[in-house]
């Protein structure tokens, strides 16, 4: 690891003004420290923001505001969250390990970087790590790679579980920019598709801070599921995951949410399938059709064709579970 300077700003203003082109904020450090050990990220200066940003969960503005420094575990076990946004809790608990979740922050979770093995090995080409070096995964081993929304420049996927739930729940991201101004972004606009500059994972302006995440109130707390399919039962990233939530009127679906992890460069919303389900009866046939509609737009890579049937099975199963998974 390259030697670096370490400071702990006390205020947001101080943090923003201390940031430089070669500095990094550090929250839980569960992703950044690994990247530094691997020499993928080599900041000159670390700005520890653990005392800088809010770590409270508050009901506000017809929704809930989660401070950027709330640890992932604290979100998952929070009473308000469990009562009104249980999908979020369930998704978090399917990620990483208890130790990592205890350290990981809400803001850091959004900004964790891909687990594509080509990104992680400095000797292999990777446009995300070094644009112009090529994408080793495109024609190499890409079983973990994307099946939708990728480009020739990058087939990596976003690894977060929590973000899949946030995408499904129409969350918003509150940020404060280097010049001190504030901005709110729709969660779905926060992460990017790779296009020709995959080195940028998201639309967060340089040196801006995520201050909190807002999740609006909804009627999805009764019928929801987060299904994560992975190579083993715990401590593994998703091959495919599905966040499903239904607002039911008897056996009729008034609103549906479907999002996936492990399929794209960003948490992916299956809006066509959601539209299809709206107003339909909750039947096996309709669930299968929704799964088919979602899968229709996918185009697997050379070694991950299995993700398509896996996705279909996961969507059907998750929708079924919504009916019985009563909070």
């Amino acid at each position: 690891m390259k030697p670096f300077e370490y400071t702990k700003p006390k205020t947001v203003r101080e943090a923003l003004s201390s940031a430089t082109r070669h500095s990094h904020y550090i929250a839980g450090g569960t992703n950044l420290v690994d990247l530094m050990k691997k020499e993928i990220d080599e900041p000159d200066k670390l700005l520890d923001i653990t005392n800088t940003l809010p770590d409270q969960i508050e009901v506000k503005d017809n929704g809930v505001v989660i401070g950027a420094m709330v640890r992932n575990t604290a979100i998952a076990v929070n009473k308000i969250i469990l009562e009104s946004w249980p999908l979020l809790s369930k998704a978090i608990l399917k990620g990483a390990s208890p130790q990592i979740r205890n350290m990981a922050s809400a803001g850091g979770n959004l900004l964790q970087r891909t687990r594509c093995p080509y990104f992680y090995d400095l000797t292999l080409p990777c446009n995300k790590r070094k644009n112009g070096s090529g994408c080793g995964a495109l024609k190499g081993n890409n079983r973990m790679g994307a099946i939708i929304g990728y480009s020739d420049a990058c087939v990596a996927v976003h690894p977060s579980d929590m973000c899949v739930a946030l995408a499904a729940l129409d969350a918003k991201v509150n940020i404060q920019k280097a010049d001190g101004s504030e901005e709110t972004m729709n969660f779905l606009d926060f992460h990017r598709l790779p296009g020709t500059n995959p080195e940028k994972d998201n639309n967060l302006p340089e040196n801006a801070l995520i201050t909190s995440i807002f999740v609006p109130k909804n009627n999805f707390s009764k019928h929801f599921e987060y299904l994560k399919l992975r190579d083993r039962e715990s401590y593994a990233f998703a091959l495919v995951s599905v966040a499903a939530a239904l607002d039911m009127d008897g056996n009729q679906i008034s609103e549906a949410r479907l999002a996936s992890g492990g399929v794209a460069h960003k948490p992916w919303r299956w809006t066509k399938a959601e539209d299809f389900l709206k107003g339909k009866q909750a039947t096996a046939e309709n669930f299968a059709e929704a799964a088919r509609i979602a899968a229709e737009d996918t185009a697997p890579l050379s070694t991950n064709a299995f993700k398509v049937p896996l996705l279909k099975g996961a969507i059907e199963t998750a929708l079924h579970t919504c009916l019985t998974n009563k909070a």
Binding site: L124, L227, S234, N304, F306
Partner: protein, 733 residues
Amino acid sequence: MSYFFDSKNTEQMPKGRVEGIAKVTGKAKYSAEYDIPDVTYGVMVGSTIASGRILKMQIEEAMKAPGVIDILSHENKPYVSGFSGMKEMPDNRFGLPIFYTDKVYYNDQPIAMVVAETIEDAMFAASLVKAEYEEAIPETDFAKKAKEVSLKETENDRGSVGAWENAPYKVDQEYTIATEVHNPMEMHATIAQWKPNDKLVLYDKNQGVNRVQSVISSLFDIPTDNIHVISEFVGGGFGSGLRVWPHTIAAVMAAQQVKRPVKVMLTRPQMFTMVGYRPESWQRVKLGADKDGKFLGVIHQAKNISSKIQGFSDGITRVTRKIYGFKNVKTEEAIVDLNVPMPTWNRGPGDTTGCFGVESAIDELCHELKLDPVDVRLKNIAPYEMETGLPWSTNYLNECLEKGAELIGWKNRNPVPGSQKEGDYKIGYGVAVGMWGSGRSYTGASIDMQKDGVITVRTAMTDIGTGTGTGMQNVAHTVTGIPKSKIKIELGNSDFPKAPSQGGSRGMASVSSAVYAASLALKRKVAGYAWPDKDANTLNIDDISLSDKGITYKDSFLPYADIFGKNNLNDIKVEEFAGPGEERKKYGFCSSAAHFYKVKVHEKTGKIKMDRMVIVADAGRIINPKAAANQVIGAGAGGIGMGLLEEQLIDFKTGRLIGNDLAGYHFAVNADVPLIEVSFIGKPDPNINPSGAKGLGEVGIIGAAPAIANAVFNATGKRVRDIPITVERFFNA
């Protein structure tokens, strides 16, 4: 030096492992944890190409980094006699001639070692070391190259192929297994410290201290006795510690070069490239039987990955010649050398791989014959050791099968695939067996008794989590009568009586006999001091017993205080060696196991869950039931890895491993493993050694993977012949 239990608390002896308290309190010292004054830190640098030649090392920048003392490479190294006269690869018996070649045989081949004042300095500088290469196109695709390599006779054939050409029932299938990496929890590490007069001390993670001694001795041309190897606590091995790997040799070289002790510990990614793995393999099994399921003959062919440095054959077809009474056997093997790191023995080497082919093929045959796979196996168990013609000393494989069937409720299994359901899951049952030759080697143990009656039992053998120390304590206690709270264990040290490596399931079978012999010797020696008027050698040994207070012979009792006082003694020492003998010419020896598993397969997602695992093993007398069950549970969990999860991928273009860390390489975690139901036949083998214990380390994993695949077939009708059964393999089957 540490100890296997806290001597101050001898009364609070743990009921489990002798070393348990030391391990859970952090007192146990693993190799990298020794604090050696003036130590320096070595970090290995791997090549970034898989094939070619190093034109020039680029170390200028690294040399300028803070704390750097020296950088070893083929351009800068001390004299090593074993390497300097080295012949061409792949005949070099030491493996990679580290720093004695400019050739690159695989990606991440160690090409340099940075030595610095701190670990942080060394790691940073290592990141700055580069090399200029002349690159060649590497060969990295096993499946592709295996097709071009022709098979060779193993020269162990029996009968003829012609004899069963017209067998009414036949299967002929191919099977493959992905590369599996050992990944013990403890990273391999060595501290090398040269002392005056060519003496060398090594704190080293390995499975056999005497082996390390002899390898280093011949490489560096110094007497074995000059080399002191300490490996008191070893955090797992699974075979990765049976060789002396380049980092250990590099540490010794570096310590010589910088004239200070050098500590090197591999990183987790280096654990995937620098200390071996179970090689990817291909097999073809052709099996013939009559209508009653009596086997008529078998052809077993196998190929495995090998490196360009040294040929490595895993011996995949051996198990086929052993378990069943085939009259006609033809076995052929080949190695496929690629630009990949060196493979090595991994738990149940060869037999675990071979069993997947044969035990799967038998299941296929039973399905075709509509016969029960337990009955068919019972009908075909080798009546004697087929390769030698010797009678089995003991072989209770039949009882393992019968007991396992009973425990899992085999009779309720529906043999029609896909016919059983629980909720959204299809369920299935599978069986497979494993066998392993029970070996034994010449082994020493000593006992040292102090005035207070506390004894210390010592051996050079390592305890790699196998429960060796606990077993030694059990034997010493049973034979002498001294309570366990007064028996200390010290091991894994080349100053102690010589012993073979902890491997091949020989550990307990070997050391138990040495401790047994030493325990008897101690009884006689104490008796001799107690009653000098009696001839201790002629006393009936069963009439002598020791306790925490003194010695008893028939009705006489003498306290230790009197014995030590009267004879003016400080301690009483005995040392004994024991090894195999004539019995090896009379009998065949084996351990065996039967695996009965129940799996659940999700109808929509293909998710496979292990629901029940019943493993019944015949390993002779079970010296310590807890440690023995622990071995089998670990093996069963390893079997889940092999059957469902573990697969080291490689980028064919570059020869880099893909996902080589614990997040990317998936061995089983607790959530994947059901309660593993272990039982033993427990009948002592009367001939193998005085304790009647046969080996147990390997047999628990041999047969595990095919039992899973067979259960998946019963559940779904999908025959998966390529493992691990990851979701893509399941969907494609």
